[in-house]
């Protein structure tokens, strides 16, 4: 009989798991531990509306009243010190311990940092939580020079927002194009051009050697070739590392996330992991930490069910969205992979655009730029592995929605 479930980590995965547990009729105790002193909130807004000051605070994922009504014991601002899977106990900061029947680790990921001279200067920031976003927002404004190290999703989102706030924005990217890993070269280059049109300076192939400061505050970024640019603020946005400290201390082998099966179960019985901290199996092979909103949400629901003995394996198809230079970009599946890419839409202007990776008469991955409605249809083709051919998809008159309706789930799998 499961009467005590502990959830460590109070972000999207933790909150979603709590909601799923109650949604599935579990009426035992739920202890929800989070390091931040607030209730779970919408993290994507930290680089967008909250950073822009349009919203004072990120929207809560669930209203405060929900936790009370659902009888969830919320421990905000309490960092769990240790987990002991053999005895099924947590060690709390107070020194007290807590027994559980099932444990979900939903500790998320931490911003990766650079170990360079000057990396600890005031004004060298990362962006991961609400405090980070407030800190950055307080420093932005007209004329402030912001150097963003890393031209990935967060870097490009912040560049958009900071530029709109009047800052002088520079993106420093070590690769020869922005967004290569997530969006590929074509859309990466297109986004760069859109950002440049907003007035963002993009420097590629950069090798940063140090951050230079005066009076403890950052003043410039120095490059290996001896060049330097002035910077009042530096944002280091070079990716995230799954936070697996508790699992590792407990003896679990981790590799960019805690390896779990497709129900979220780790190598320890009764210990589940969901969200960015989980190295979760993918539908199309392999496993990794996905670091996306929708996948975290799905993993949390799956792990919650599995904790209650209702295991329904859910290998993931990566799904992400971003907003760059005023454009809505959405992806499903991995950009890198076998098959042929084809383009639908306005390829000349780059928007609206739908890119599809077609393999073995099915859409394996898709990327949309401002084509949200078609993308909604395509995600269903990808998920159902609906059989569809390249010539069909190449035909501009071929209506994806009508096709899907006429042949629901006519796919493999």
């Amino acid at each position: 009989m499961i009467r005590n479930i502990a959830i460590v980590g109070f972000g999207l995965a933790g909150a979603s798991a709590a909601r799923s547990l109650r949604g599935q009729g579990y009426d035992g105790r739920i202890h929800l531990f989070g390091e931040e002193p607030v209730l779970a909130y919408d993290r994507p807004s930290l680089s967008k509306s909250v950073l822009a000051g349009v919203a004072a605070e990120p929207p809560p994922l669930l209203d405060a009243g929900w936790y009370t009504a659902a009888g969830v014991d919320v421990h905000s601002g309490e960092r769990v010190q240790q987990i002991n899977p053999a005895q099924r106990r947590l060690l709390l900061p107070s020194g007290a311990s807590l027994s559980y029947d099932r444990l979900l680790l939903a500790t998320g990921a931490r911003a990766r940092t650079l170990s360079l001279p000057g990396a600890t200067l005031d004004g060298v920031l990362t962006l991961r939580d609400q405090a980070d976003s407030s800190n950055l927002r307080g420093r932005l404004g007209p004329g402030v020079s912001l150097s963003i190290v890393g031209g990935g999703l967060i870097g490009c989102e912040v560049a958009t927002t900071a530029r709109k706030a009047g800052a002088e924005v520079r993106i420093l990217e070590s690769a020869d194009e922005l967004l290569l890993r997530v969006l590929g070269r074509r859309v990466g280059a297109w986004c760069r051009e859109r950002l440049e049109a907003l007035g963002v300076v993009v420097q590629r192939n950069t090798r940063i050697s140090a951050f230079e400061g005066k009076g403890g505050r950052v003043r410039a970024v120095a490059f290996a070739d001896g060049e330097r640019v002035t910077a009042d603020v530096v944002l280091v946005s070079i990716g995230a590392e799954p936070d697996t400290a508790l699992a590792q201390d407990a003896g679990l082998t981790c590799a960019r996330g805690v390896p779990v099966d497709a129900t979220g179960l780790s190598a320890c019985p009764d210990l589940f992991v969901a969200g960015d901290a989980a190295c979760w199996p993918l539908r199309d092979g392999g496993q990794r930490s996905l670091e996306t909103y929708l996948n975290s949400q799905a993993q949390a629901a799956t792990a919650a069910a599995a904790m209650l003995g209702r295991a329904e394996p859910s290998p993931q198809v990566p799904r992400a969205w971003t907003e760059i230079a005023g454009h809505r970009i959405q992806t499903i599946g991995d950009f890198d992979g076998p098959g042929d890419w084809l383009l639908r839409g306005d390829a000349e202007h780059g928007s609206p655009l739908l890119m599809l990776r077609v393999q073995s008469d099915a859409v394996a991955a898709a990327l949309s730029v401002d084509a949200t409605k078609d993308f909604a249809t395509v995600t269903r083709l990808v998920e159902a592995r609906t059989r569809v051919t390249l010539p069909e998809l190449r035909d501009p008159a071929f209506n994806l929605r009508d096709f899907l309706r006429a042949r629901p789930a006519a796919g493999a799998s």
Binding site: P59, P60, L61, T372, K373, F375, A376
Partner: protein, 108 residues
């Protein structure tokens, strides 16, 4: 209490939606297998138009962040959406569809 003609029945195909812009806030009119429902058009989660969403039965999925709502009741069916939609009374007479904006009291 005023029902206003917004379109003909055939202007919205089954499984589709129409954005209505003649009211103080934009509404979305959904055709669920021949039944019509009206809700606020703006998603309660992000700044996006639900008439641009994907309608599956009586559930619309916002095409921006994939939150889901029941268009019959306005209730949230899937996160990231958190707040319910306002819904509006709809009447079909003959070939015409009418919406009552003022009686926005149909909130679930």
């Amino acid at each position: 209490m005023a029902f206003v003609r917004v379109c003909g029945r055939s202007d919205v195909a089954e499984g589709e939606a129409l954005k209505l812009e003649q009211f103080p806030i934009p509404l979305a009119l959904f055709n669920v297998d021949g039944e019509f429902f009206a809700t606020q058009d703006r998603c309660t989660h992000g700044e996006w138009s639900l008439s641009d969403g994907y309608l599956d039965g009586d559930v619309v999925e916002c095409s921006l962040h994939m939150g889901k709502f029941c268009v019959r009741t306005g209730k949230v069916r899937s996160a990231p959406a958190n707040g319910a939609l306002q819904t509006f009374a709809v009447r079909v007479e003959g070939d015409a569809v009418f919406v009552d904006f003022d009686a926005a009291a149909v909130t679930p």
